[in-house]
Symmetry: C3
Subunit: 319 residues, 3 copies
């Protein structure tokens, strides 16, 4: 398995895409391509991580991401352990630190963590000697989503340089947007953001992106458009005056897409509010990569688990 | 494994028993008998479905049926993935169609679905290329329950033709009753129904059954009686004037069973309301097949997963 | 695997530590030591229990203990099945007896049960032919916790005889305390209890322990102190006049520990209320065995599953 060598993987943890060099990112994608192929075989399983324990610690619910990691782990023959959720006594009765130390004491090889606090994954990574994989922390980062998005685009585009991608929607509260901007600009993509002013993050002027407030302008000439899920509870918080007004201006429609390049692609991290941030027709059209993203998710997470758990330096981590 | 050949299994999905010919049903039972024996070995596991992914998607809670499928999958060495329940973001944030397409994109080999909407399983089967197994949809069908019931009866009776079975209780709202009537009449069993008028389904006169409103008459000469679980919330809906009155008239008692054949059997799909639809004494008596039904459930579901996931045409389903 | 012979293991079930002789306990510890070592290997898995089914039936939530058993089972290659919790229809709709018989009919090899009723595990053990492991029943017993506590102490002490351990906190409502007193006194440890009068159990004068109401006196000369978790809901019940007053008198502090032996150890079954029953400094200090307890938990539970499921007499249990 030459192309999936772990000899050079220097990271104990995956906290954010900012830690990855371009070369490391592309190496991870090559590894994911290998697993992508395995996922379509009749026997979708390799013995690589047999005897490894992967804890799926989801303090925020996310069936979609958790199932994707669960499949990734099991298809590599790891044992997976799900915990978290509101019913978890680990979550209720303890500080995050005590929960983390308790999990660590059970000798897992990796903890995949989804948490509502920005920095939760890093907090664990500094204290534990097992690998920590950030599956989304607060508004901060969602590196595995960004990696699967970029991997999905590479499958279509071949390469990144010179391509233009528009990210559309609630940028301010989106860890998906943050990680995608970070990763895609590094890979050479021209990234545009489009959102109402109230849903743009503070300090966006310093980001290496173009900012638009008009949907049609933001999409003009784009190679792909990524819609973000609108958290409908934002409206209660007074950030959206009116949902119908929001959709009229920012819902991605076939009409808007006529401004994009021919064969431009549409992405969405799911779950979708059809008719709110993306028109139903586009979600199901030929240019939609939404289901490709889901399929890529399993392969990219297999690559992440593989690279982090099989690196030779690993044996030295434990005392 | 001659008797468990999949060469002739023509079905991608198991949606209802009506799709199965008598020969297919008997072939499924023979396969289940083989697995029934494996379930009593010290090592209750065969490698048959290693590398297959089975998603257990239970939008309605059902620990009993889900655990049975989970055991069936794991004893065949498949990987199983549980999702659903009120805490599932997949269920909350998406239409059934989007949830289904998302699951499909992760490349499972089968999705076992329990859903409150009649037709949910068929809806998935028409859209997905993996196998769909209906684990109960609304009031419509519960084919795996009917198959395990019939399998359990065959273990006792040897053959079906000429036997008489009474189904007792809330027929109107019971997918168990619908699927059992469908399957057992096709296998040659004389089926009787007994229920208060308000709990008989519309159009029952067209069913190939005898209908009774008197418990003792309905049981007279029967080879077996199947009690249904009374959903106690029906009372709130005004369909039951009084629970005590209901039990006085329709609870299966030892006294009523004296009218049945000697050695007549008693079935119940569980969980039981002892003293409401079945007397506690009968549930624990020698003639009770209630625990046999549970044991058969694992074996029959192993057979179902085996036949659907190992059929040779399967490779052609995927594009 | 000479040291982990099951030839002499005479017990179908683990209900309480009182059933174990000293020799059996030490044999279990030797077995656990063997698995403790396996848990630190790169491949943390042995095929010993392949094809065995272990049901984790937790009618009371306990992520910590359930995950520990789940890891123990999977590292022995058993299949594990989680059920219970408030959403479980098994729990809602049925008596414990019917739930148990239903589980049994699925042919598991062991049922690990956590239940709010004292005696629930024994109730199952008398009715089922699979192994029952008590993972905590009401205020009655928590044998696996006591075994992992004693195992953790043996790793430090080498032997038990002549050592002194103080158990501190809500003894009255603690199954952990009951099982620890039972086991440690049998192993030769001098056990002291320290609690406010309202949190001492009725009849404590007949226990083979010394009882204290002053923290500093109870700790004087001790080799180890075990803090119990204070169930904060006890306050609502009127058993604690004031939490601050409780902590002032009964929270284990570095100051109190100066009265104990040099290098005295601190234990806590978790999850901790830092600053209530144990000072945060002590929890993280060198003498803290709290994380050792968690690590021991997996190994001890592997030993328990191994010894109960591999004993040669087992084949004779089933009819």
């Amino acid at each position: 398995m030459n192309e999936t060598s772990t000899a050079s993987w220097p990271h104990k943890d995956l906290l954010d895409v900012s830690q990855l060099s371009v070369a490391e990112t592309l190496h991870l994608f090559d590894t994911a391509s290998y697993f992508q192929e395995i996922n379509t075989r009749p026997v979708k399983k390799v013995p690589t991580l047999k005897g490894k324990s992967v804890v799926l610690f989801f303090a925020e619910p996310s069936t979609r991401t958790k199932t994707s990691f669960d499949m990734a782990g099991k298809r590599l023959s790891a044992d997976t352990f799900s915990l978290g959720g509101s019913s978890s006594s680990l979550v209720k009765g303890e500080s995050l630190k005590d929960t983390a130390l308790t999990l660590q004491a059970m000798n897992p090889d990796a903890i995949v963590i989804r948490h509502s606090s920005s920095g939760a994954a890093q907090f664990l990574a500094e204290r534990l000697d097992c690998s920590i994989v950030n599956a989304g922390d607060g508004w901060h980062a969602h590196p595995t989503q960004a990696l699967l998005d970029a991997f999905t685009l590479r499958e279509q585009w071949g390469e990144f340089r010179g391509k233009t991608l528009t990210i559309l929607g609630d940028i301010a509260h989106s860890r998906v947007a943050r990680s995608n901007v970070n990763l895609l600009t590094k890979l050479g993509v021209n990234v545009r953001l489009c959102a109402p002013r109230t849903l743009l993050p503070v300090g966006v002027q310093t980001w290496p992106v173009e900012v638009f407030s008009d949907l049609h302008e933001s999409v003009a000439g784009a190679d792909a458009v990524m819609c973000l899920r609108l958290q409908l509870e934002r409206q209660a918080a007074g950030l959206l005056p009116d949902l119908r007004e929001y959709s009229r201006r920012f819902c991605l429609t076939p009409d808007a897409m006529t401004r994009a390049k021919k064969n431009a692609k549409v992405l969405h991290p799911g779950p979708m509010n059809r008719g709110v941030e993306i028109s139903s027709v586009l979600a199901d059209a030929d240019g939609s990569l939404i289901l490709n993203q889901v399929a890529s998710g399993v392969a990219v997470r297999m690559a992440i688990l593989y690279l982090h758990l099989m690196r030779p330096e690993r044996s030295g981590d434990k005392q």
